[in-house]
Symmetry: C2
Amino acid sequence: MSIFIDACFGKPVTRTPVWIMRQAGRYLPEYRAVREKVKFLDLCKSPELAAQVSLQPVDILGVDAAILFSDILVVPEAMGMELILEDHGPQFPQPLRGQADVGKLHVPDPETELRYVGDAIRLLRKSLKVPLIGFCGAPWTLAAYMIEGKTSRSFEKAKAALFSDEALAHVLLTKITDSLIAYLNMQLAAGAQALQIFDSWAGALGPEDYARFGAPYIARLIAGLKRDGQPVIVFGVETGELLGQLAKTGADVVGVDWRVPLDEARKRVGPKVALQGNLDPASLFLPLEKLRPRIARVLEQARAAGPGHIFNLGHGILPGTPVANVQALVQQVHEGLAK
Amino acid sequence: MSIFIDACFGKPVTRTPVWIMRQAGRYLPEYRAVREKVKFLDLCKSPELAAQVSLQPVDILGVDAAILFSDILVVPEAMGMELILEDHGPQFPQPLRGQADVGKLHVPDPETELRYVGDAIRLLRKSLKVPLIGFCGAPWTLAAYMIEGKTSRSFEKAKAALFSDEALAHVLLTKITDSLIAYLNMQLAAGAQALQIFDSWAGALGPEDYARFGAPYIARLIAGLKRDGQPVIVFGVETGELLGQLAKTGADVVGVDWRVPLDEARKRVGPKVALQGNLDPASLFLPLEKLRPRIARVLEQARAAGPGHIFNLGHGILPGTPVANVQALVQQVHEGLAK
């Protein structure tokens, strides 16, 4: 196997593996060259192009894992919602507005309705020499998008809808979860070697709400997977108070944002899961002599946290990030801390 | 004195005091009626109108404290930066871009350059029967706005500027802090009976960065105040990992967002400061029968946290919030928990 997979299971590794959330993205000139010719959603739906941009960071950065280029919102689209994905942010022009809208959603057959994702995975597996991570959004995050219609600062529509009608919330979150189980199982069958569940808006919920509307559906999703040694990573931002819940979902790895030092995160997740993270993405805009000590600090905190660390950022890489700094990061993580 | 002031100092009170962050704001029809006739910044600069809208929530909601209607960005404006304040968010068209720009900023004389704030406070004190809270933004939050030029999701420009040149960061943050000391002392002299320092973007910084660029300047600001029994509240969002630092700034009260239950917050701030918060602002969009148990839950957690609680939301009240729900909230807090 690979150091990435071993680290996900907390096994001893010769060096810390590293990949970067959103590593196939706008900061790369090679990615922008592809995007000039094709719209975002068309890129997601072209297996050849999606595979091409997924490979770019592996070649350019030397990361230890590839992640499928796609978007978490292709699942709601396949469930029946019109989706507009442009650079100013995704939009559902007709967000969910009640029971009738939820009733119309269907659980897609991923082998046909999301086949382009499986095709991209199969293509990637032919040329990749590092493990391939498949992914999806978490039920709460997808539900929030589907109700708000777009990204939000406060999610008052999503919260009002779910908190005021728990029966409806359960129907919607279950339908999403069932769709995700089939979707991730399709990705595993196509060749995904690890999975990451992005609960991007987890931190919008207080701990008691997350215990009702967030974590249980992730646990149900993970329990529904037909795995054969593929680890599952769960990640969200602003999850300081939720790390314990995330660790109990059945995930092998919990991603941590840059707000919680990894040694502190360890106290909250317990000894059984690995940790992924957690350099502040803004650090990559610093000159190298200021960036390097920050990378070393994450490695130190990870060492203090004990076995099971995958180096990553605490959130997705930002547009405009200098590529040379990301290359330097990968190299420094590979060299590791002085003994 | 008042129950609000007593609660700020952890003294026994007959019932829990309550006020609402951004209580003078767009959710109130009476506020919108004033705003129709005047631009936001002109409203801030008209003592009569600022006093008028500051009084509205006291009359309409029955809250236990008033807060001056103003904006944290009037201080950078007085320091020499052009400011545009419109409903789609504030903007500095010429953000700080280096040492020369920072050098040009001056520490304003608040008695002349921010006199309209003092005038509004003096007007308000003539008619108010509850304590008046003055306020300012915290140095880090103001610096972040001044460098980014507008609100940001990731603050990479502000972080790159401050983290890469700590000497320049110190000059800028000190200049802002000196301006704020004079500004808050002017507010105290004019009659402010409590002060709140809004570190809105505190949570964008990891704990080690906050210990260098955030908390020390708040501590210096508080140490510079000429107080005569007026409590100081510090508040930020996404501050779960920063509550201990905030409690050590010399503040009497630490505001908590809805992500950290108050009894958990107590463990992080220690026994000596009071807590303010922390209902999720989105809760106010729920029907009353769903809202009431959430208010009761905050009161329960506050009781478990021990003496010193001011009820508030975990962040500013949202536009579109039903006024009747806010009135019901104030009434329920006043009635308190059953013994």
